[in-house]
Assembly symmetry: C2
């Protein structure tokens, strides 16, 4: 067997990075190749189109994040604390990224998904499926919280969808206004939406 390469991973990483910061249409194959330190020939050796690379990049990104989510949303941690930890984690990540590029970037899944939804069925389906996986963390945490009587949410799925929407809307606004404070504050908004009595972290 001949030499093996990590160029494929470098390409998906570069793609995620650029598309997160800019956008799908605003990121060219040449940009991706340059950032990945690969030539265009290599790009099309691994992927048959920009669309397919994007789907692969989103998938790879999710795979990494999923591991963290599994830990954060572990049934061993109290349900409302799962949200607190998750939101802290998101905050940290976005704050870190802001230091590098100067901007709050929001949720790549939502930005990219929203952009391509009318134009690229392959990418859209990928995003759709990933978001669907993601919301399940919310649903079971809410179900557990309800079962433990710490919130009232007979329809856990509906509540999860509301929170999910609120979360994504906040990230989008934080991106537009480049305001990290919106995300910092969201922990309290989330508890309010969930109808939780104030927990360890006090609200304003």
């Amino acid at each position: 067997m001949p030499r093996k390469s990590d160029a494929k991973e470098r390409l998906t990483d570069a793609a995620m990075d650029l598309m997160w910061e800019n956008s799908y249409s605003g990121t060219s194959v040449d940009d991706i190749c340059e950032k990945a330190g690969a030539k265009k020939g290599s790009f099309y050796y691994f992927f048959k189109s920009k669309s397919e690379l994007t789907a692969a990049a989103l998938e790879a990104d999710w795979k990494k994040k999923k591991a963290d989510m599994d830990a954060i949303f572990s049934p061993t941690v109290p349900p409302l604390e799962r949200f607190e930890r998750y939101l802290d984690c998101v905050y940290e990540g976005l704050a870190e990224r802001q230091k590098q590029c100067g901007s709050i970037l929001g949720c790549p899944m939502l930005s990219i998904g929203s952009e391509v939804s009318t134009q690229d069925q392959v990418v859209r389906d990928t995003v759709d499926r990933i978001l669907d996986s993601k919301i399940n963390y919310f649903i079971s945490a809410i179900r557990d919280a309800h079962a433990q009587g710490v919130i009232v949410a007979p329809d856990a799925e509906a509540k999860a969808r509301a929170l999910f929407a609120c979360y994504h809307g906040t990230l989008a606004q934080a991106r537009i206004q480049n305001d990290l404070g919106l995300i910092r504050n969201f922990k309290y908004v989330a508890m309010d939406v969930l109808g939780a009595k104030q927990t360890s972290t006090a609200s304003a």
Copy 2:
């Protein structure tokens, strides 16, 4: 004075239409010109760049919508009913548009704003300002509702921001999933987020 033209308006209309359905980067000046029935020379006679045209298009779009919002959020209508009417109106608009192009398009301000935020300061500022105007309708409706004792929201602005985020998040998800039902259902989610006891329209 020589002949006067409506080409400028045709161009901003076409731009909004295309960018709403697709995206900023995904919409070319040539596309806009073709849809508007104008030549590129005319485009650059009226606007000095694609970026400036976009800002003008968003501004013109907002000017039209603002008139409707003023009517819907009139202090003469009961505060919670303002939201119901507004959300019905949004629903109608998106459903209509879906018939034409087959897709739920969400909120153009948010999609475009989110896309260009890291790349185009002129457009970003425009979006930022418009969103800021828009949230004021929410704030005063919530303030009125609180004053009338129909909801409990001592911090009207915070509540408005939460609802605003939830609203935008829902529109974005509806776009990604191409699911009008999310918007249909949002009226009830909104009332829940506001903490309103069930009004005329019953919830699920």
